[in-house]
């Protein structure tokens, strides 16, 4: 690029940044801060055997002077033959930005997890009153989105316990104090609340093992892993504890041509792990995030400054692969495939790729959501696509294309990513109409989050520039066509009638008590709201310590739309003793249930369920009889979905009490509160005890979670 062209482009960039209300110092420059791929650990011969150590480390990818805080993240290496430490240097990963586990369908993933995390000041933890052991910083792992069994431990002490993707366990640092040995420094009375709790793992190695086997039919795509101890999940993820997982090869579902003679190579795939960290003045990370950290303050590249009232001198960093405002060179003529993972604890992103020359968004071609390729038949109408994609994407034109597409290309000018979501998108230079064209000399763009307000009672997630993007100019791409999504897309998986058949399920005696299948034609209704508890010190939906609390309520609805007597459970905080139990179908076949998700809060929630994925279904279909895979939105399979917030009417709790941030179930039933239900069909195929919850982890830690158990059938 010549100097004059550079200057002109820079001037244009700065003026556009000013127009967006943000300051861009270095957009459109070729920077030494080029985005690096996360370190990869790939399986060999069907096995990936790793040592993962959770420990403190320096966050060294920030470019704002004076900021290199100590976070918590993972050291990862191939499992050594002896010992429980990773050798320094090549072969080990120790990066705030994260890592990638590259698996194939049918693989076995073995992990030894070590907890070397520090103790925490109890006063720094929001949920310390519910669980004083949180100050000991227990941890575990969840392989988010993988459809694998939630196997519990079967190994007695003194051997190290072994789990599948099971999160109802907590690993303590042996050197950090016995979880039950020194209650004096916490609230001894609080132990009375812990008599029903998860596994407590405490051994000389501070270790637990995982052995997770992927089915051979597992979808190929993007997944991730993170800690999941209730009450402290937000803190640990906000400090950096997350990595990503890829399954299969992109060529198995993405090609440049209809016949797939020209599959997309792995070298065209870029992984972008989005994380955020709030750092106080003095370079001190904040364990408990505050969504209003930057309210009223300015934002620029990869950071916004703390509001002067509460966080003067602090900064809130938004990184890609641990790097603050890196540069991404898009050098392939046919563009790249970007796999985004929102690995933030609570922050939501509204991603845009803004052409610095025009100020208009460059459309992304949508490839996959939550690890499954999207699959809308060509000619799918807007109602079908937008019905499935609403609240997650702003659908845009893909321009003109030639030839036949088995599945319709879908493009989006905006991608909303609530916590935990993954999106794969094809990125190439496009004109304002969405056509793939040769990028002009010096073409550049800014990857940014445009900010997202999650509702009247919600959070104002800030607008921040995330990365500079440079397009290499040259002749028009050879194909100049959208890429083709092929086999393994959601529609193909759904048409097979099940996601994955249960593994290893053998008949067991008839389940006792409440472990019964949902009667034919019935569905579950789940309420998302802020529960009211005695002693609330700051209005409805708060606890005695002034914290906002969150919960779920339940009801079984019959084929006529009536509540089944005795099935209603009002909204309450997470209680591990309360379990929804269901058996597999006869012959250990998958069970398909319909759930109606009703958000009564005045903010968005983000439903997520472990060990499976779900598709949208129309209310008419859902109420017409037993669930089938005949859905109205066959194009996507998700494991998380935003739930629209409620609109309180006269006489409802939020109208009567302005401090309240959710309606009551009685408000909803009496018509005082309008809520838009999200209807989903969920195939249950994996055995074990697992959870569903809101993946805004402030809400999950605050109680918006529930246990579900799937057991073998008796026949």
């Amino acid at each position: 690029m010549g100097e004059s062209a550079f200057s002109a482009a820079s001037a244009a960039t700065l003026s556009l940044c000013a127009a967006f209300g943000v300051f861009c110092a270095t957009a459109n420059t070729i920077s030494a801060n080029t985005l690096a791929e996360p370190q990869v650990f790939a399986s060999e011969n069907g096995l990936l055997n790793l040592l993962i150590i959770a420990q403190p480390g320096k966050v060294d990818g920030l470019t704002t002077p004076g900021f290199a805080p100590t976070g918590w993240f993972y050291t990862v290496c191939p499992r050594p033959r002896t010992g429980d430490s990773c050798p320094a240097g090549a072969g080990s990963s120790h990066s705030y930005g994260g890592f990638r586990l590259a698996l194939q369908p049918g693989d076995e993933l073995k992990i030894r997890l070590i907890n070397n995390l520090p103790l925490l000041p109890p006063a720094s933890l929001e949920w310390i009153h519910d669980d004083p052991l949180l100050a000991l910083n227990p941890t575990n792992l969840h392989t988010h989105g993988l459809i694998v069994p939630a196997a519990a431990n079967t190994t007695p002490p003194p051997d190290i316990p072994v789990y599948g993707d099971f999160i109802l366990t907590a690993l303590f640092n042996y050197n950090g104090g016995n979880p039950k040995d020194d209650p004096a420094q916490y609230d001894p009375g609080a132990y009375a609340q812990l008599h029903a709790h998860t596994d407590v793992v405490y051994n000389r190695l501070s270790a637990m093992d995982y052995d997770i086997r992927l089915p051979k039919t597992h979808p190929a795509g993007a997944f991730w892993m993170h800690p999941h101890v209730h009450g402290i999940a937000q803190n640990q993820i906000a400090m950096g504890m997350a990595g990503i997982v890829s399954v299969g090869k992109v060529a198995s579902y993405l090609c440049y041509d209809a016949g797939c003679a020209d599959p997309v190579p792995e070298s065209s795939v870029r992984h972008l792990i989005l994380k955020d960290m709030q750092v106080l003045a003095g370079d001190i990370p904040q364990y408990q995030q505050d969504p209003e950290f930057c309210s009223g303050s300015r934002a620029w590249n990869g950071v916004c400054s703390g509001n002067p009232e509460n966080y003067s001198g602090g900064n809130w960093f938004f990184t890609v692969n641990g790097q603050q405002y890196p540069t991404i060179p898009v050098s392939k003529a046919q563009g790249e495939v970007w796999r985004f993972t929102n690995a933030s604890a609570s922050a939501s992103y509204r991603l845009q790729l803004i052409d610095n020359a025009t100020g208009r968004p460059i459309a992304f071609q949508l490839i996959a959501i939550d690890g499954v390729a999207v699959g809308f038949p060509e000619g799918a109408d807007a109602g079908q696509t937008e019905g499935a994609l609403r609240d997650r994407f702003t659908v845009a034109s893909c321009g003109k294309w030639n030839g036949v597409y088995a599945l319709q290309p879908i493009c989006a000018s905006e991608i909303v990513m609530m916590p935990s979501s993954r999106v794969e998108a094809a990125v190439a230079y496009r004109d304002p109409s969405g056509n793939l064209v040769s990028p002009p000399q010096g073409a550049s763009a800014t990857l940014r989050t445009a900010g997202l307000d999650t509702g009247p009672g919600g959070d104002p997630w800030p607008a921040v520039n995330l990365a500079a993007v440079n397009f290499v100019s040259g002749p028009a791409p050879a194909s100049a066509q959208p890429v083709h999504v092929g086999a393994q897309a959601a529609n193909a998986i759904l048409s097979q009638g099940s996601l994955i058949n249960p593994l290893g399920a053998r008949p067991q005696p008839a389940a006792a008590g409440a472990c019964k299948p949902l009667p034919s034609g019935h569905h579950r209704r789940v309420y998302f709201a802020n529960p009211n508890v005695p002693g609330a010190s700051d209005g409805p939906g708060t606890d005695p310590w002034g914290n906002a609390i969150f919960g779920l309520g339940f009801e079984e609805i019959d084929q006529s739309g009536h509540s089944v007597p005795g099935s209603f459970v009002d909204v309450t905080q997470f209680d591990p003793a309360q379990v929804i139990c269901l058996p597999l179908g006869p012959g250990q076949t998958p069970v398909l249930e319909t759930w109606e998700l009703v958000n009564l809060a005045t903010e968005l929630h983000n439903f997520h369920i472990h060990q499976t994925k779900f598709s949208h279904v129309s209310p008419a279909v859902a109420m017409s009889g037993p669930p089938t895979f005949v859905t109205y939105a066959t194009g996507v399979l998700e494991d998380s979905v935003p739930l629209p917030f409620a609109k309180p009417g006269p006489g409802s709790q939020p109208v009567l009490d302005p401090e309240a941030t959710s309606c009551l179930v009685s408000d909803y039933k009496s018509g005082k509160c309008a809520a838009t239900s999200v209807w989903v069909q969920i195939p249950f195929t994996q055995l074990g005890t697992f959870v569903f919850h809101c993946h805004i982890l402030e809400h999950e830690d605050g109680g918006m979670m529930h246990v579900i158990r799937v057991v073998p059938s008796s026949s």
């Binding site: 079967t154 007695p156 002490p157 003194p158 016995n178 039950k180 132990y191 407590v200 591990p576 003793a577």
Partner: protein, 131 residues
């Protein structure tokens, strides 16, 4: 062979003999300890011996009988790993099974057990388990 090399070789040999001697003593001590009678809770002069599975099971059963509603009655302990704590207390990783669940499922908890003149007692942990 140079003199310095010879000295180094002699030093290694001496260290090797010492290490071998130490190893023999440790093995002998371990063999001696292995033949001591198992501790069953009473103060027999071996107060720092860690509690066994049977000791922790007995302590748990006594606590469950107190009927405070916090302990289930069907816990069968299948493994313990204890280390000394303060005084006569031991902190233990305890594995147990429950009759209402798959017997292969081993639940894990920590417990503080204390040696008293009446035997081992459960000071904390091993409470009702429902997951």
């Amino acid at each position: 062979m140079r003199l310095a090399t010879l000295r180094l070789a002699a030093d290694r040999l001496r260290r090797g003999v010492l290490a071998a001697g130490a190893f023999v003593m440790v093995v002998a001590a371990a063999a001696f300890l292995a033949h001591l009678p198992p501790d069953r809770g009473a103060a027999t002069g071996n107060e720092r011996a860690a509690p066994s599975v049977a000791d922790v099971q007995a302590a748990y059963d006594r606590a469950a009988l107190s009927a405070d509603g916090l302990h289930d009655g069907d816990i069968r302990i299948v493994g313990v790993d204890c280390r000394p704590g303060t005084g006569m207390r031991f902190s233990c990783q305890v594995g147990f099974v429950k009759s209402e669940f798959d017997p292969a499922r081993v639940f894990l908890d920590t417990a503080l057990v204390e040696r008293t003149p009446k035997g081992w007692t459960l000071a904390r942990g091993l409470c009702r388990r429902l997951i």
